[in-house]
Symmetry: C2
Subunit: 196 residues, 2 copies
DNA sequence: GAGTTTAATGAATGACTATTCAGTATACTA
DNA sequence: TAGTATACTGAATAGTCATTCATTAAACTC
Protein backbone atom coordinates (compact mmCIF):
# COMPACT_ATOMS: atom_id res chain seq x y z
CA UNK A 1 0.00 0.00 0.00
CA UNK A 2 1.22 3.44 -0.86
CA UNK A 3 3.04 5.14 1.90
CA UNK A 4 1.22 7.96 3.61
CA UNK A 5 4.31 10.05 3.02
CA UNK A 6 3.81 9.91 -0.74
CA UNK A 7 1.70 12.97 -0.35
CA UNK A 8 -0.44 12.22 -3.36
CA UNK A 9 -3.52 11.45 -1.30
CA UNK A 10 -2.98 14.49 0.81
CA UNK A 11 -2.80 16.57 -2.35
CA UNK A 12 -5.96 14.96 -3.65
CA UNK A 13 -7.77 15.90 -0.47
CA UNK A 14 -6.58 19.48 -0.68
CA UNK A 15 -7.56 19.70 -4.33
CA UNK A 16 -11.01 18.41 -3.49
CA UNK A 17 -11.30 20.84 -0.62
CA UNK A 18 -10.55 23.82 -2.86
CA UNK A 19 -13.39 22.93 -5.18
CA UNK A 20 -15.95 22.12 -2.51
CA UNK A 21 -15.15 25.07 -0.29
CA UNK A 22 -15.09 27.50 -3.18
CA UNK A 23 -18.45 26.22 -4.27
CA UNK A 24 -20.25 25.94 -0.94
CA UNK A 25 -18.22 27.92 1.54
CA UNK A 26 -16.21 26.48 4.38
CA UNK A 27 -19.05 26.05 6.83
CA UNK A 28 -21.44 24.49 4.36
CA UNK A 29 -18.78 22.07 3.22
CA UNK A 30 -18.82 18.84 5.18
CA UNK A 31 -15.85 16.59 5.61
CA UNK A 32 -17.90 13.93 3.85
CA UNK A 33 -18.21 16.15 0.77
CA UNK A 34 -14.46 16.62 0.57
CA UNK A 35 -13.85 12.92 1.09
CA UNK A 36 -16.31 12.00 -1.60
CA UNK A 37 -14.75 14.32 -4.17
CA UNK A 38 -11.27 13.17 -3.25
CA UNK A 39 -12.39 9.56 -3.64
CA UNK A 40 -11.50 8.50 -0.12
CA UNK A 41 -13.45 7.52 2.96
CA UNK A 42 -14.40 10.10 5.56
CA UNK A 43 -12.04 8.61 8.08
CA UNK A 44 -9.11 8.82 5.71
CA UNK A 45 -9.19 12.59 5.95
CA UNK A 46 -8.16 12.25 9.56
CA UNK A 47 -5.05 10.29 8.66
CA UNK A 48 -3.77 13.40 6.91
CA UNK A 49 -5.32 16.24 8.87
CA UNK A 50 -6.12 16.40 12.51
CA UNK A 51 -9.35 18.26 11.97
CA UNK A 52 -11.39 20.17 9.44
CA UNK A 53 -9.84 23.53 10.16
CA UNK A 54 -6.39 22.19 9.49
CA UNK A 55 -7.46 21.52 5.94
CA UNK A 56 -8.17 25.21 5.49
CA UNK A 57 -4.84 26.16 7.02
CA UNK A 58 -2.99 23.74 4.79
CA UNK A 59 -4.84 25.04 1.77
CA UNK A 60 -3.63 28.47 2.53
CA UNK A 61 -0.08 27.47 3.24
CA UNK A 62 0.15 25.61 0.00
CA UNK A 63 -1.23 28.54 -2.00
CA UNK A 64 0.68 31.25 -0.23
CA UNK A 65 3.89 29.28 -0.37
CA UNK A 66 3.77 29.28 -4.14
CA UNK A 67 2.80 32.93 -4.12
CA UNK A 68 5.72 34.03 -2.02
CA UNK A 69 8.33 31.91 -3.72
CA UNK A 70 7.27 33.10 -7.16
CA UNK A 71 7.14 36.60 -5.76
CA UNK A 72 10.71 36.45 -4.58
CA UNK A 73 11.85 35.20 -7.95
CA UNK A 74 10.15 38.09 -9.70
CA UNK A 75 11.61 40.58 -7.31
CA UNK A 76 15.07 39.18 -7.82
CA UNK A 77 14.73 39.51 -11.55
CA UNK A 78 13.93 43.20 -11.43
CA UNK A 79 16.76 45.67 -11.03
CA UNK A 80 15.17 48.95 -10.00
CA UNK A 81 12.36 49.27 -7.49
CA UNK A 82 9.94 50.44 -10.14
CA UNK A 83 10.76 47.38 -12.19
CA UNK A 84 10.36 45.10 -9.19
CA UNK A 85 7.03 46.61 -8.28
CA UNK A 86 5.79 46.21 -11.83
CA UNK A 87 6.66 42.56 -11.71
CA UNK A 88 5.00 42.05 -8.35
CA UNK A 89 1.79 43.72 -9.43
CA UNK A 90 1.67 41.72 -12.61
CA UNK A 91 2.38 38.49 -10.75
CA UNK A 92 -0.12 39.14 -7.99
CA UNK A 93 -2.94 39.74 -10.42
CA UNK A 94 -1.92 36.87 -12.66
CA UNK A 95 -1.72 34.36 -9.84
CA UNK A 96 -5.03 35.34 -8.32
CA UNK A 97 -6.67 35.47 -11.72
CA UNK A 98 -5.41 32.06 -12.72
CA UNK A 99 -7.73 29.95 -10.59
CA UNK A 100 -11.09 31.31 -9.55
CA UNK A 101 -11.77 28.60 -6.99
CA UNK A 102 -8.49 29.26 -5.26
CA UNK A 103 -9.16 32.98 -5.45
CA UNK A 104 -12.47 32.51 -3.68
CA UNK A 105 -10.68 30.62 -0.95
CA UNK A 106 -8.03 33.26 -0.45
CA UNK A 107 -10.22 36.33 -0.85
CA UNK A 108 -13.22 35.11 1.08
CA UNK A 109 -13.09 31.80 2.87
CA UNK A 110 -9.75 32.25 4.56
CA UNK A 111 -10.99 35.40 6.23
CA UNK A 112 -13.59 33.64 8.28
CA UNK A 113 -12.54 34.44 11.74
CA UNK A 114 -10.41 36.88 13.61
CA UNK A 115 -8.30 34.01 14.82
CA UNK A 116 -7.73 32.85 11.30
CA UNK A 117 -6.98 36.27 9.87
CA UNK A 118 -4.62 36.90 12.68
CA UNK A 119 -2.62 33.86 11.71
CA UNK A 120 -2.48 34.90 8.08
CA UNK A 121 -1.56 38.42 8.85
CA UNK A 122 1.17 37.45 11.25
CA UNK A 123 2.75 34.94 8.95
CA UNK A 124 2.33 34.76 5.22
CA UNK A 125 0.75 38.13 4.57
CA UNK A 126 3.26 39.69 6.89
CA UNK A 127 6.04 38.21 4.82
CA UNK A 128 4.51 39.55 1.65
CA UNK A 129 4.20 43.01 3.16
CA UNK A 130 7.83 42.82 4.19
CA UNK A 131 8.87 42.15 0.60
CA UNK A 132 6.80 45.11 -0.58
CA UNK A 133 8.32 47.26 2.14
CA UNK A 134 11.83 46.41 1.02
CA UNK A 135 11.03 47.40 -2.52
CA UNK A 136 9.70 50.72 -1.28
CA UNK A 137 12.86 51.34 0.70
CA UNK A 138 14.94 50.59 -2.35
CA UNK A 139 12.88 52.99 -4.42
CA UNK A 140 13.46 55.72 -1.88
CA UNK A 141 17.19 55.05 -1.81
CA UNK A 142 17.33 55.20 -5.57
CA UNK A 143 15.64 58.55 -5.38
CA UNK A 144 12.74 57.41 -7.53
CA UNK A 145 10.11 57.37 -4.79
CA UNK A 146 9.10 60.24 -2.53
CA UNK A 147 11.56 60.75 0.30
CA UNK A 148 8.85 61.23 2.93
CA UNK A 149 7.18 57.86 2.47
CA UNK A 150 6.58 55.53 5.38
CA UNK A 151 7.58 52.19 3.84
CA UNK A 152 5.41 50.17 6.19
CA UNK A 153 2.39 52.24 5.36
CA UNK A 154 3.16 52.25 1.66
CA UNK A 155 3.40 48.46 1.62
CA UNK A 156 -0.05 48.20 3.18
CA UNK A 157 -1.46 50.66 0.71
CA UNK A 158 -0.08 48.73 -2.23
CA UNK A 159 -1.41 45.50 -0.81
CA UNK A 160 -4.76 47.13 -0.17
CA UNK A 161 -5.15 48.16 -3.79
CA UNK A 162 -4.16 44.73 -5.12
CA UNK A 163 -6.33 42.91 -2.61
CA UNK A 164 -9.38 45.01 -3.38
CA UNK A 165 -8.90 44.40 -7.09
CA UNK A 166 -8.72 40.68 -6.41
CA UNK A 167 -11.81 40.65 -4.24
CA UNK A 168 -13.73 42.71 -6.72
CA UNK A 169 -12.78 40.32 -9.49
CA UNK A 170 -13.90 37.33 -7.47
CA UNK A 171 -17.27 38.90 -6.78
CA UNK A 172 -17.90 40.24 -10.25
CA UNK A 173 -19.31 37.83 -12.73
CA UNK A 174 -17.59 39.45 -15.65
CA UNK A 175 -14.92 37.45 -17.30
CA UNK A 176 -12.59 40.34 -17.74
CA UNK A 177 -9.06 39.24 -17.02
CA UNK A 178 -7.67 40.57 -13.81
CA UNK A 179 -4.25 41.30 -15.27
CA UNK A 180 -5.83 43.66 -17.77
CA UNK A 181 -6.01 46.25 -15.00
CA UNK A 182 -2.35 45.97 -14.10
CA UNK A 183 -1.53 49.14 -16.03
CA UNK A 184 -4.09 51.27 -14.20
CA UNK A 185 -2.94 49.82 -10.92
CA UNK A 186 0.66 50.66 -11.59
CA UNK A 187 -0.14 54.20 -12.67
CA UNK A 188 -2.05 54.69 -9.46
CA UNK A 189 0.57 53.11 -7.25
CA UNK A 190 3.51 54.90 -8.86
CA UNK A 191 1.60 58.13 -8.39
CA UNK A 192 1.07 57.34 -4.74
CA UNK A 193 4.72 56.53 -4.34
CA UNK A 194 5.74 59.79 -5.97
CA UNK A 195 7.42 58.33 -9.02
CA UNK A 196 7.92 61.19 -11.38
CA UNK B 1 -46.27 45.07 27.85
CA UNK B 2 -44.05 47.13 25.62
CA UNK B 3 -44.98 47.06 22.03
CA UNK B 4 -42.70 45.10 19.77
CA UNK B 5 -42.54 48.14 17.56
CA UNK B 6 -40.77 50.17 20.23
CA UNK B 7 -37.56 48.87 18.79
CA UNK B 8 -35.69 49.06 22.06
CA UNK B 9 -35.54 45.31 22.49
CA UNK B 10 -34.46 44.86 18.93
CA UNK B 11 -31.67 47.35 19.49
CA UNK B 12 -30.66 45.55 22.66
CA UNK B 13 -30.39 42.31 20.76
CA UNK B 14 -28.27 43.90 18.05
CA UNK B 15 -26.03 45.54 20.63
CA UNK B 16 -25.56 42.22 22.36
CA UNK B 17 -24.83 40.54 19.05
CA UNK B 18 -22.05 43.00 18.22
CA UNK B 19 -20.25 42.22 21.44
CA UNK B 20 -20.64 38.46 21.31
CA UNK B 21 -19.84 38.10 17.63
CA UNK B 22 -16.83 40.39 17.87
CA UNK B 23 -15.58 38.37 20.78
CA UNK B 24 -16.25 34.83 19.56
CA UNK B 25 -16.91 35.09 15.86
CA UNK B 26 -20.22 34.52 14.16
CA UNK B 27 -20.10 30.75 14.06
CA UNK B 28 -18.98 30.30 17.62
CA UNK B 29 -21.66 32.65 18.85
CA UNK B 30 -24.87 30.85 19.72
CA UNK B 31 -28.26 32.43 19.71
CA UNK B 32 -28.41 31.61 23.40
CA UNK B 33 -25.31 33.70 24.04
CA UNK B 34 -26.82 36.71 22.33
CA UNK B 35 -30.10 36.25 24.18
CA UNK B 36 -28.35 35.99 27.51
CA UNK B 37 -26.37 39.18 26.99
CA UNK B 38 -29.42 41.02 25.74
CA UNK B 39 -31.34 39.84 28.80
CA UNK B 40 -34.07 38.07 26.87
CA UNK B 41 -35.09 34.47 26.34
CA UNK B 42 -33.77 32.52 23.38
CA UNK B 43 -37.17 32.44 21.79
CA UNK B 44 -37.54 36.20 21.97
CA UNK B 45 -34.82 36.58 19.39
CA UNK B 46 -37.16 34.98 16.90
CA UNK B 47 -39.82 37.58 17.49
CA UNK B 48 -37.44 40.15 16.06
CA UNK B 49 -35.37 38.19 13.59
CA UNK B 50 -36.40 35.27 11.47
CA UNK B 51 -33.10 33.50 11.90
CA UNK B 52 -29.55 33.89 13.08
CA UNK B 53 -28.19 35.12 9.80
CA UNK B 54 -30.70 37.94 9.70
CA UNK B 55 -29.12 39.30 12.85
CA UNK B 56 -25.84 39.64 11.01
CA UNK B 57 -27.52 41.30 8.06
CA UNK B 58 -29.32 43.75 10.30
CA UNK B 59 -26.12 44.52 12.13
CA UNK B 60 -24.53 45.44 8.90
CA UNK B 61 -27.41 47.49 7.63
CA UNK B 62 -27.53 49.47 10.82
CA UNK B 63 -23.79 50.19 10.75
CA UNK B 64 -23.50 50.88 7.06
CA UNK B 65 -26.57 53.06 7.10
CA UNK B 66 -24.89 55.41 9.53
CA UNK B 67 -21.69 55.21 7.53
CA UNK B 68 -23.26 56.21 4.26
CA UNK B 69 -25.46 58.94 5.63
CA UNK B 70 -22.60 60.55 7.49
CA UNK B 71 -20.48 60.06 4.39
CA UNK B 72 -22.92 61.96 2.23
CA UNK B 73 -23.06 64.81 4.71
CA UNK B 74 -19.29 65.11 4.68
CA UNK B 75 -19.17 65.04 0.93
CA UNK B 76 -21.80 67.73 0.70
CA UNK B 77 -19.81 69.94 3.03
CA UNK B 78 -16.69 69.85 0.90
CA UNK B 79 -16.47 72.10 -2.12
CA UNK B 80 -13.63 70.76 -4.23
CA UNK B 81 -12.98 67.10 -4.90
CA UNK B 82 -9.76 67.18 -2.92
CA UNK B 83 -11.60 68.61 0.03
CA UNK B 84 -14.36 66.04 -0.27
CA UNK B 85 -11.90 63.21 -0.43
CA UNK B 86 -10.06 64.50 2.61
CA UNK B 87 -13.29 64.49 4.53
CA UNK B 88 -14.23 61.02 3.39
CA UNK B 89 -10.87 59.57 4.35
CA UNK B 90 -10.98 61.22 7.73
CA UNK B 91 -14.53 60.05 8.33
CA UNK B 92 -13.91 56.50 7.19
CA UNK B 93 -10.99 56.06 9.52
CA UNK B 94 -12.72 57.81 12.39
CA UNK B 95 -15.88 55.76 12.12
CA UNK B 96 -14.07 52.46 11.88
CA UNK B 97 -11.71 53.45 14.66
CA UNK B 98 -14.48 54.50 16.98
CA UNK B 99 -15.74 51.06 17.95
CA UNK B 100 -13.42 48.10 17.77
CA UNK B 101 -16.16 45.51 18.20
CA UNK B 102 -18.10 46.95 15.32
CA UNK B 103 -14.91 47.16 13.29
CA UNK B 104 -14.30 43.47 13.84
CA UNK B 105 -17.77 42.75 12.58
CA UNK B 106 -17.38 44.82 9.45
CA UNK B 107 -13.80 43.92 8.61
CA UNK B 108 -13.97 40.24 9.42
CA UNK B 109 -17.26 38.68 10.37
CA UNK B 110 -19.37 40.14 7.60
CA UNK B 111 -17.08 38.63 5.01
CA UNK B 112 -17.86 35.10 5.94
CA UNK B 113 -19.29 33.76 2.78
CA UNK B 114 -19.34 34.52 -0.87
CA UNK B 115 -23.08 34.90 -0.65
CA UNK B 116 -22.77 37.41 2.11
CA UNK B 117 -20.00 39.41 0.48
CA UNK B 118 -21.91 39.46 -2.72
CA UNK B 119 -24.81 41.12 -0.94
CA UNK B 120 -22.60 43.72 0.63
CA UNK B 121 -20.75 44.46 -2.51
CA UNK B 122 -23.88 44.79 -4.56
CA UNK B 123 -25.61 47.08 -2.13
CA UNK B 124 -23.94 49.14 0.54
CA UNK B 125 -20.35 48.88 -0.57
CA UNK B 126 -21.46 49.51 -4.12
CA UNK B 127 -23.14 52.71 -2.99
CA UNK B 128 -20.01 53.80 -1.20
CA UNK B 129 -17.90 53.13 -4.27
CA UNK B 130 -20.35 55.17 -6.32
CA UNK B 131 -19.87 58.15 -4.03
CA UNK B 132 -16.11 57.82 -4.32
CA UNK B 133 -16.42 57.54 -8.08
CA UNK B 134 -18.40 60.76 -8.28
CA UNK B 135 -15.76 62.60 -6.32
CA UNK B 136 -13.11 61.33 -8.70
CA UNK B 137 -15.12 62.51 -11.68
CA UNK B 138 -15.48 65.92 -10.10
CA UNK B 139 -11.75 66.09 -9.47
CA UNK B 140 -11.06 65.31 -13.09
CA UNK B 141 -13.53 67.96 -14.25
CA UNK B 142 -11.92 70.51 -12.00
CA UNK B 143 -8.60 69.64 -13.57
CA UNK B 144 -7.06 68.70 -10.26
CA UNK B 145 -6.88 64.96 -10.89
CA UNK B 146 -5.15 63.21 -13.76
CA UNK B 147 -7.21 63.28 -16.92
CA UNK B 148 -6.55 59.65 -17.81
CA UNK B 149 -8.04 58.15 -14.64
CA UNK B 150 -10.68 55.47 -14.76
CA UNK B 151 -13.05 56.68 -12.04
CA UNK B 152 -14.43 53.23 -11.34
CA UNK B 153 -10.97 51.83 -10.89
CA UNK B 154 -9.81 54.79 -8.83
CA UNK B 155 -12.77 54.41 -6.48
CA UNK B 156 -11.82 50.78 -5.86
CA UNK B 157 -8.21 51.69 -5.28
CA UNK B 158 -9.16 54.32 -2.73
CA UNK B 159 -11.48 51.92 -1.00
CA UNK B 160 -8.79 49.23 -1.06
CA UNK B 161 -6.32 51.44 0.76
CA UNK B 162 -8.84 52.50 3.40
CA UNK B 163 -10.13 48.98 3.88
CA UNK B 164 -6.67 47.52 4.29
CA UNK B 165 -5.82 50.18 6.86
CA UNK B 166 -8.96 49.31 8.75
CA UNK B 167 -8.31 45.59 8.67
CA UNK B 168 -4.74 46.07 9.73
CA UNK B 169 -5.87 48.19 12.64
CA UNK B 170 -8.37 45.58 13.75
CA UNK B 171 -5.74 42.88 13.70
CA UNK B 172 -2.99 44.85 15.32
CA UNK B 173 -3.01 45.01 19.06
CA UNK B 174 -1.45 48.43 19.15
CA UNK B 175 -3.62 51.18 20.40
CA UNK B 176 -2.51 53.65 17.82
CA UNK B 177 -5.46 55.65 16.63
CA UNK B 178 -6.52 54.82 13.13
CA UNK B 179 -7.12 58.45 12.17
CA UNK B 180 -3.49 59.25 12.88
CA UNK B 181 -2.62 57.74 9.53
CA UNK B 182 -5.09 59.85 7.59
CA UNK B 183 -2.33 62.18 6.46
CA UNK B 184 -0.19 59.43 4.98
CA UNK B 185 -3.24 57.94 3.34
CA UNK B 186 -4.19 61.21 1.71
CA UNK B 187 -0.68 61.85 0.45
CA UNK B 188 -0.66 58.43 -1.11
CA UNK B 189 -4.13 58.73 -2.61
CA UNK B 190 -3.63 62.25 -3.95
CA UNK B 191 -0.42 61.02 -5.53
CA UNK B 192 -2.27 58.15 -7.14
CA UNK B 193 -4.92 60.51 -8.40
CA UNK B 194 -2.33 62.81 -9.86
CA UNK B 195 -3.00 65.81 -7.66
CA UNK B 196 -0.10 68.15 -8.18
C1' DG C 1 3.46 -17.02 1.34
C1' DA C 2 2.90 -16.61 6.48
C1' DG C 3 3.31 -12.97 9.38
C1' DT C 4 3.61 -8.21 10.36
C1' DT C 5 2.97 -3.47 9.66
C1' DT C 6 0.68 0.29 7.68
C1' DA C 7 -3.31 2.43 5.31
C1' DA C 8 -8.04 2.86 4.43
C1' DT C 9 -12.86 2.23 5.39
C1' DG C 10 -17.51 3.86 6.76
C1' DA C 11 -21.03 3.03 10.14
C1' DA C 12 -21.81 4.57 14.74
C1' DT C 13 -21.25 8.03 18.20
C1' DG C 14 -21.76 12.07 20.63
C1' DA C 15 -22.05 16.74 21.00
C1' DC C 16 -23.92 20.77 19.59
C1' DT C 17 -27.42 24.32 18.70
C1' DA C 18 -30.93 26.75 15.68
C1' DT C 19 -35.56 26.86 15.91
C1' DT C 20 -40.27 25.85 17.63
C1' DC C 21 -44.31 26.16 20.41
C1' DA C 22 -47.26 25.23 24.39
C1' DG C 23 -47.58 27.67 28.29
C1' DT C 24 -47.14 32.02 31.17
C1' DA C 25 -47.05 36.84 32.02
C1' DT C 26 -48.02 41.36 31.04
C1' DA C 27 -50.57 45.09 29.15
C1' DC C 28 -54.61 46.90 27.17
C1' DT C 29 -59.94 47.44 26.84
C1' DA C 30 -64.54 48.36 28.14
C1' DT D 1 -62.51 43.28 37.00
C1' DA D 2 -63.13 40.00 33.46
C1' DG D 3 -61.72 39.25 29.05
C1' DT D 4 -58.76 39.70 25.18
C1' DA D 5 -54.65 40.54 22.79
C1' DT D 6 -49.88 40.82 22.69
C1' DA D 7 -45.20 39.77 24.23
C1' DC D 8 -42.21 36.71 26.29
C1' DT D 9 -40.32 32.37 28.02
C1' DG D 10 -37.30 28.31 27.97
C1' DA D 11 -37.54 23.38 27.75
C1' DA D 12 -38.00 20.11 24.06
C1' DT D 13 -37.16 18.99 19.28
C1' DA D 14 -34.96 17.73 15.35
C1' DG D 15 -31.30 17.76 12.38
C1' DT D 16 -26.59 18.23 11.41
C1' DC D 17 -21.83 16.68 11.18
C1' DA D 18 -17.05 16.32 12.95
C1' DT D 19 -14.69 12.73 14.72
C1' DT D 20 -13.69 7.93 16.29
C1' DC D 21 -12.48 3.18 16.00
C1' DA D 22 -13.28 -1.73 15.17
C1' DT D 23 -12.69 -3.99 11.06
C1' DT D 24 -10.81 -4.92 6.46
C1' DA D 25 -7.45 -4.45 2.84
C1' DA D 26 -3.15 -3.75 1.02
C1' DA D 27 1.87 -3.66 1.09
C1' DC D 28 6.10 -5.11 2.82
C1' DT D 29 9.55 -8.53 4.97
C1' DC D 30 12.31 -12.52 5.14
Amino acid sequence: MARISDGTKREAILDAAVVEIARHGYHQTTVAMIARRAGVADGTIYLYFSNKEEILFSLFERAMGRFISEGRTEVDQGASATEKLSRIVELHLTLVGRDRDLAIISQVELRHSLHFMDQLSRNQVGEYLAILGQVVVQGMEEGNFRADLDPVFAAKAIFGVLDEMATDWVLSRKNKRLESQAGSALDFLFGGLGVS
